[in-house]
């Protein structure tokens, strides 16, 4: 089974009432091909390894529920604003209407939007959380993604907690036009308020984080972490190649490329993400 099909299959039977329901119940006897090195991997091994290929270290994409399962202490995550859902305000239509695309994305992913927000615990520390899901319209940021983020920022601020946002997004949602563009300003405004309360904000950039998300809340964080191998940038590599007619250097816009140029604090292997976050939260607690 191709990994993508497997992921779709994995998502199907779930009913969304709490993080416990996101847990996967996949039989162990399935083989999956690594998307990078093409090696066949026993599902059980890939799952145990948090979907990091044991052969080539490729980090396969996680869904937001999977990521929450990985980093949150078991049973501690409580979702907020799960009922907020996008509307086709501009009546945008390309080859298909945005309204239909939304409906299909919801069906395909069993999510209501490209971000899940809520409060939970990581290493026994209470935190505000927002986790984006690339499988929902490319993790694109529309008005509802913006609104959910703003609400969790203020909720976290009220509770006096640190905030962690896990990014995975192609950028602003074109189908919402300037309304999506201005979510960048809206979210950064809320983060200014958050920051002026001396509260800590950590962003984790996963594969891929580009466009308007990178150019707003992803980089408005106090500490910016990136998952190993993640593509991170403002413009996409194809656009840059077309504009400049230049050959892109090896590893361009990958996590280590940005680390070398001083653009992020740390590159983190997925298997060490929870430990790294816990570590930072300990420092935050000890101040």
């Amino acid at each position: 089974m191709r990994l993508l099909n497997w992921l779709n299959w994995l998502r199907k039977p779930k009913i969304k009432t709490g993080i416990g329901d996101y847990a996967s119940t996949v039989p162990d006897n399935i083989w999956i091909k690594c998307e990078s090195c093409q090696t066949l991997i026993y599902y059980h091994d890939l799952g145990e390894n948090l979907k990091v290929c044991p052969h080539c270290n490729y980090h396969h994409r996680l869904t937001a529920p999977e990521l929450l399962l990985q980093i949150c202490d078991s049973g501690t995550f409580k979702e907020e604003d799960a009922d907020l859902t996008s509307r086709d305000i501009l009546r945008f239509k390309d080859t298909q209407s945005y309204a239909i695309k939304l409906k299909e994305a919801k069906k395909k992913t069993a999510l209501s939007e490209a971000v899940i927000t809520g409060l939970g615990q990581i290493g026994s520390f209470r935190v505000g959380l927002a986790v984006m899901d690339f499988s929902f319209l490319g993790g694109s940021m529309g008005s509802v993604v913006g609104e959910k983020l703003v609400r969790i920022i203020y909720k976290t601020m009220k509770e006096n907690l640190p905030l962690i946002v896990i990014c995975a997004s192609g950028g602003a949602r074109m189908q919402e036009g300037v309304l999506s563009l201005f979510q960048m300003a809206k979210i950064n405004y809320a983060l200014n308020d958050f920051s002026s309360n001396s509260l800590l904000y950590i962003s984790v950039l996963t594969n891929p984080t580009t466009g308007g998300v990178t150019a707003s809340f992803a980089y408005a964080a106090d500490i910016v972490l990136a998952e190993e191998g993640a593509l991170i940038g403002f413009a996409g590599p194809r656009v840059i190649e077309q504009t400049t007619k230049m050959k892109l250097p090896e590893g361009f816009q990958r996590a280590n490329f940005l680390l070398d140029r001083g653009m992020i604090d740390r590159v983190v292997n997925r298997k060490a993400l929870k430990a790294t976050l816990t570590n930072i939260l300990e420092f935050n607690y000890g101040r």
């Binding site: 609104e147 300037v178 201005f182 300003a185 150019a215 656009v239 230049m246 653009m263």
Partner: protein, 310 residues
């Protein structure tokens, strides 16, 4: 980059015809009739512009640039250079000036005119150091307690290897955050192209004014067409779907005012447009200046937190 606006061609032909007739026979009943016809045709075309035609106008090479307006609107503009970290980006200009006898900070994206100037200005597409220069000047404005006025005119932040290496995304994010945090009145005027995050970095203001034939978009129509239709030829269609004209943005409650232009665009009467911008700026700056600081900050908060809640 077109030299002529295609939808204007019938008008240019008529004008040429009238000019030749007048040259040959002087002004006659016939030429008067033709001139009347021209006026009619003009109105017919310009009162029914499609979004794609507005995009062409907003990008038009002959359209007045930021520095043209700066020289007409402000007195004694003193340009200040550099980000103090890496370099000086010619795609963003900024400095001190007088407006109605008061000191203000002006920051603007500057497109070029002609090939060499355009290459020098990188077609108005800033590098990260451009945004960092802007940030430096925003902080200076706040320190001097003077209003900030920005002019927005860019296809977008420059998409290049070196931009990414130097942190284009970080530079834009920080500019947006900083501009929203300033304890001074801020006004942005979109004079041509408001291209995506690279434009928003200078447009996150208390009041956003747009010239009638300017645009503001999350992505260029060409880029949108390439991604959603998988074909750039659908740019015209995308321009309509994106809702990027001043009128659209006003209806979506993102901008505050539409500033009038001559029927056939700002380049037909730059001085008049400069006066229109100046009047509108005056009005809004006076308004913002009369507010106590906490009210100003509160209004800004309300403006931004409600975006998208339609």
């Amino acid at each position: 980059m077109e030299d002529k606006l295609t939808f204007e061609l019938p008008l240019l032909e008529m004008e040429e015809k009238i000019r030749l007739l007048v040259e040959k026979e002087g002004e006659t009943k016939n030429t008067a009739k033709l001139t009347l016809l021209l006026k009619k045709k003009e109105e017919e075309i310009y009162q029914n512009l499609t979004p794609w035609q507005v995009v062409q106008l907003a990008r038009y090479q002959g359209r007045p640039r930021s520095l043209d307006y700066i020289n007409m609107i402000f007195e004694s503009f003193l340009e200040l250079h550099g980000d103090r970290r890496f370099g000086d980006d010619p795609a963003i200009v900024g400095g001190l000036a007088f407006f109605n006898k008061h000191t203000v900070m002006v920051i603007a994206q500057q497109k070029g005119r002609g090939v060499d100037d355009n290459l020098f200005r990188r077609f108005g597409m800033p590098y990260p150091e451009g945004y960092r220069k802007a940030q430096r000047l925003m902080r200076l404005a706040e320190k001097m307690k003077i209003p900030l006025i920005t002019l927005v005119d860019t296809p977008g932040a420059f998409p290049g290897i070196e931009s990414e290496e130097r942190g284009q995304a970080e530079a834009i994010s920080l500019s947006i955050s900083l501009m929203l945090s300033l304890q001074i009145p801020t006004v942005a005027v979109v004079i041509g192209e408001g291209g995506s995050g690279g434009a928003l970095a200078l447009a996150s203001a208390d009041k956003i004014l747009m010239l009638k034939y300017s645009i503001f978009s999350v992505i260029s129509p060409e880029g949108c067409a390439a991604i959603l239709w998988k074909d750039e030829k659908y740019a015209e269609k995308a321009a309509g779907e994106l809702k990027l004209t001043a009128r659209d943005l006003w209806k979506l409650k993102i901008i505050d005012v539409i500033i009038e232009e001559p029927l056939r665009g700002a380049h037909y009467h730059p001085e008049q447009v400069a006066r229109n911008i100046s009047d509108s700026l005056s009005h809004h700056l006076n308004l913002l200046r009369s507010l106590p600081l906490d009210t100003l900050v509160q209004l800004r908060k309300e403006k931004y937190l409600k975006i998208g809640k339609l």
